[in-house]
């Protein structure tokens, strides 16, 4: 075969074309940007950064607006994000010194006034779901441009846990100029490591790196996309197809699919989220203590963990487990699986022929949540509690739970570092309507735990409150999941016990 000879002119033209194309491509390669896509299961439901207290959106807003405080699980210590350091002036006065090197995404410095304004908004915005997080704060004042003084209602030793990951700093200037809703929607300029590029409700959040942020490690992704994928199969398939790099909450039965891939791995993490069954003592028939206790005796937690969760969980005998700050190994496990006792308690509660109740469960929010609830329904029916399972969609159920409209439900409470604030939120009188439990003795003990800065005293008070709560059984504590993540081998990622996936906690491997 004869190769046609190229004329000199034609060769020059080809060489010029190659040069032009090369010159166009080279800068693009030089500017190659890394992108991380995470498949998540929680809600993406509002532009208002304080309208949802659930873990996922809290982590998104923390990256965009910046949180005052976060928690470093490796160091087991609170860490300032927008705050340089803090001190306790007296048991009710905390002083926070803000970082001076931070600028907002639109170029304005972080001020103490912004912090004061943000905390006021969390207390007063009608849509605020963060009132519980700022409830212990009586007043907050700007001492100077970079210093904030918080006065608490009473001594609050675990104030930092209230603030962790939840107290965001929004710009006073923007909120005053545009109003809350307009500022949230069109001017979401915070101080965090990522800028909000796009938020599609019920679908995805896109974040891009804030070039002004100083603390990025090498390999931190330039863009982080969170895609809502409630179906476990969808997340796992997307991971295996290379559409996402992290699949959150992989159910145990799908782990083998990921383990079978050469380009992916399973990463497991313990969780500090307590899974529980709430029974509101304010509502019939749950006002009968014996019936609530019967539920606790009727559920075979070991069997559910072993079968439905395929061993990926730890039984909880209270809201906390070993390794958590306020955990006390001496707290007696009160309930074990005893259907006979449960049956007797149902009768004792005044229901000799059993009782009809409704159990509400999310579907796709927690690992195998519907299957877990169906298994519990069968166990409850076996002791005479004829539970009908209700499966409303998650956003509706979550709203109803927050408003105290659901008497009996299966749910989780995350971010339990010391445990105190979460226990107060669910079990202290009038802290939140989620369960509606009230016991003055518990209230006293929880107040006492907050008031002491001594670790041993704190743990003692919390656990005395817990033993009363266990006896009253307004909730039955079930288990903590072992959380499985499907992860691409293209990234380095160590999951945290609070399930949050921050862009800054991921490193992209160099290509």
């Amino acid at each position: 075969m004869r190769i046609p000879e190229l004329s000199h002119r034609r060769m020059c033209a080809i060489a010029a074309a190659v040069l032009v194309i090369g010159a166009t491509i080279w800068p693009a390669r030089a500017q190659f940007r890394t992108q991380l896509v995470v498949g998540v299961t929680d809600n993406i439901n509002s532009y208002n950064p304080i309208a949802d207290s659930a873990a996922f959106m809290a982590s998104v807003w923390c990256q965009v607006y910046g949180c005052l405080i976060t928690y470093d699980y490796e160091a087991a210590a609170y860490k300032g994000m927008l705050v340089e350091r803090w001190e306790v002036a007296d048991p009710t006065t905390w002083i926070f010194h803000l970082r001076r090197d931070l600028k907002s995404h639109d170029g304005h410095p972080l001020t103490a006034e912004d912090v004061v304004f943000s905390i006021d908004r969390m207390k007063n915005d009608k849509q605020s779901a963060k009132r519980a997080q700022v409830a212990p704060i009586k007043c907050v004042k700007a001492i100077d441009q970079n210093t904030v003084r918080m006065t608490t209602n009473g001594p609050t030793a675990d104030l930092l846990e209230y603030l962790t990951d939840h107290v965001l700093v929004m710009q006073k200037r923007l909120l005053e100029t545009y109003g809350d809703r307009e500022a949230d929607r069109n001017h979401p300029y915070g101080f965090g490591p990522y800028k909000l590029k796009e938020l599609a409700i019920g679908n995805r959040v896109v974040l891009v790196k804030n070039p002004e942020w100083k603390d990025f490690r090498p390999g931190t992704p330039d863009t982080v996309i969170y895609r809502l994928m409630r179906e476990p199969e969808q997340r796992v398939t997307a991971l295996l197809n290379g559409e996402i790099q992290i699949a959150q909450f992989v159910p145990p039965h799908l782990a083998s699919r990921i383990e079978g891939s050469a380009r992916h791995r399973i990463v497991t993490s313990g969780s500090i989220e307590m899974m529980f069954l709430a029974m509101s003592p304010k509502r019939e028939p749950w006002n009968k203590k014996e019936l609530r206790q019967a539920v606790a005796y009727a559920i075979d937690r070991e069997a559910i963990i072993k079968t439905v969760l395929q061993g990926q969980g730890r039984v909880l005998h209270g809201p906390l487990s070993r390794g958590q700050y306020a955990y006390d190994a001496n707290l007696e496990p009160k309930y074990s699986y005893d259907p006979e006792k449960a049956r007797a308690l149902v009768k004792q509660a005044g229901f000799p022929s059993g009782v009809d109740v409704e159990l509400f469960t999310p579907v796709g929010r927690y690992i195998n949540d519907k299957q877990v609830s169906e298994a519990m329904v069968a166990m409850l029916r076996a002791v005479g509690i004829r539970a009908a399972l209700k499966t409303p969609e998650w956003p509706t159920l979550w709203t109803d739970v927050q408003k105290g409209r659901v008497p009996f439900y299966y749910m989780g409470r995350g971010l339990m570092i010391s445990g105190g604030p979460a226990i107060s939120q669910y079990f202290e009188t009038d802290e939140s309507p989620r369960i509606g439990y009230s016991n003055p003795a518990v209230d006293d003990l929880l107040r006492k735990s907050r008031a002491t800065f001594d670790q041993a005293e704190y743990i003692k008070a919390i656990n005395r409150a817990l033993s009363l709560i266990l006896d009253d059984a307004p909730a039955h504590f079930l288990w903590q999941h072992n959380i499985l993540y499907g992860v691409s081998n293209d990234i380095k990622f160590t999951p945290q016990p609070d399930h949050r996936v921050f862009g800054t906690s991921v490193q992209m491997n160099s290509k």
């Binding site: 199969e233 169906e374 969609e393």
Partner: protein
């Protein structure tokens, strides 16, 4: 004597032959592959649905957690079609699921048929303002996408068999109403209606005794198709978690539960999916066959009864 006996026997056998010829002639249009095939599937569904408590090997809701996710054991094993994530027998749940599909399909067809035919007959018979108002109502309801309206109703009323039937009826009566109204408009000026009117019959009597019976053949055809679409919509709503409560096994909810395990335990989703497929196929075949026989338009064009 003998002759007369033979003659009598001949007459009897002739009569029998005539009767059987008549019967064959009457049955001939019905004996099409569509009607037979569809009829067998529907009959099977009815039999399985009605006899579920006797033929199901297990209680459909009994869990055996230690037997969870067992694959099908075809050769007369303990769980012929396997078990689900909670160790419940798939075959038993399919049998009970047939009941729900059947109950929903029949109830939806009857209620929407009664509502649709009644409104259609009233609308067509009275014409004028009554017709205008009813048809405006039809247009308003028709403007909603069917599944979306059903989802909205279920989200508002909550899960439950009655609510599900109401949600499915919400738009299905319209097909009956439209067709009945058109036919009633033409029937109202026919001689037998004029005759009844001139004899002093009241409107109610004319509608019930003279108009409605003439609307039934078309309604029967709509009903069969509507039955299939009701089963699919029920499956869709159950799949979305908005159908009947989770403790009642339905094919749609079994399919929804199975999708979580589709890559690891295929039998959870495959069998309910096949049940929905064959049931809808059967009902549609039957409906198609009935339309060939009963649709007056097809009669005129020479097909159908022939």
């Amino acid at each position: 004597m003998e002759n007369s006996a033979t003659l009598e026997a001949e007459v009897i056998s002739e009569r029998r032959a005539v009767r059987s010829r008549r019967l064959r002639r009457a049955l001939r249009p019905w004996l099409t592959p569509k009607v037979i095939g569809g009829g067998i599937i529907v009959l099977l569904l009815v039999i399985v649905g009605l006899s579920a408590p006797w033929i199901a090997p297990y209680d459909p809701n009994v869990q055996n957690l230690s037997h969870a996710l067992r694959p099908p054991d075809w050769l007369f094993g303990a769980n012929v079609l396997g078990t689900d994530a909670l160790g419940r027998d798939i075959l038993s749940r399919l049998f009970y699921g047939a009941r729900i599909s059947l109950v929903i399909a029949v109830m939806v067809v009857i209620i929407s048929g009664v509502v649709g035919i009644a409104l259609g007959a009233i609308s067509g018979y009275f014409a004028g303002t009554t017709d205008f108002l009813i048809q405006k109502l039809v247009e308003v309801v028709w403007a909603f996408p069917p599944l979306l309206l059903a989802i909205a109703i279920m989200a508002f009323l909550g899960q439950g068999l009655e609510n599900l039937i109401l949600a499915l009826v919400s738009q299905r009566w319209i097909a009956y109403c439209r067709v009945s109204r058109g036919q009633a408009l033409s029937l109202r000026s026919r001689e037998f209606v004029d005759a009844a009117r001139s004899l002093g019959a009241r409107h109610t009597r004319i509608i019930v005794r003279h108009i409605v019976p003439n609307l039934l053949p078309s309604a029967l055809v709509i009903g069969t198709f509507s039955m299939a679409s009701a089963i699919i919509s029920e499956a869709a709503l159950s799949f979305l978690g908005l159908g009947v409560p989770p403790e009642i096994p339905t094919w749609g909810s079994m399919l929804a539960d199975g999708r979580t395990y589709i890559s690891t335990s295929w039998w959870l989703a495959l069998f309910p999916g096949l049940c929905i497929f064959f049931t809808v196929l059967g009902i549609n075949l039957l409906g198609d066959g009935l339309r060939d026989i009963l649709d007056p338009r097809l009669k005129r064009s020479g097909s159908g009864i022939g």
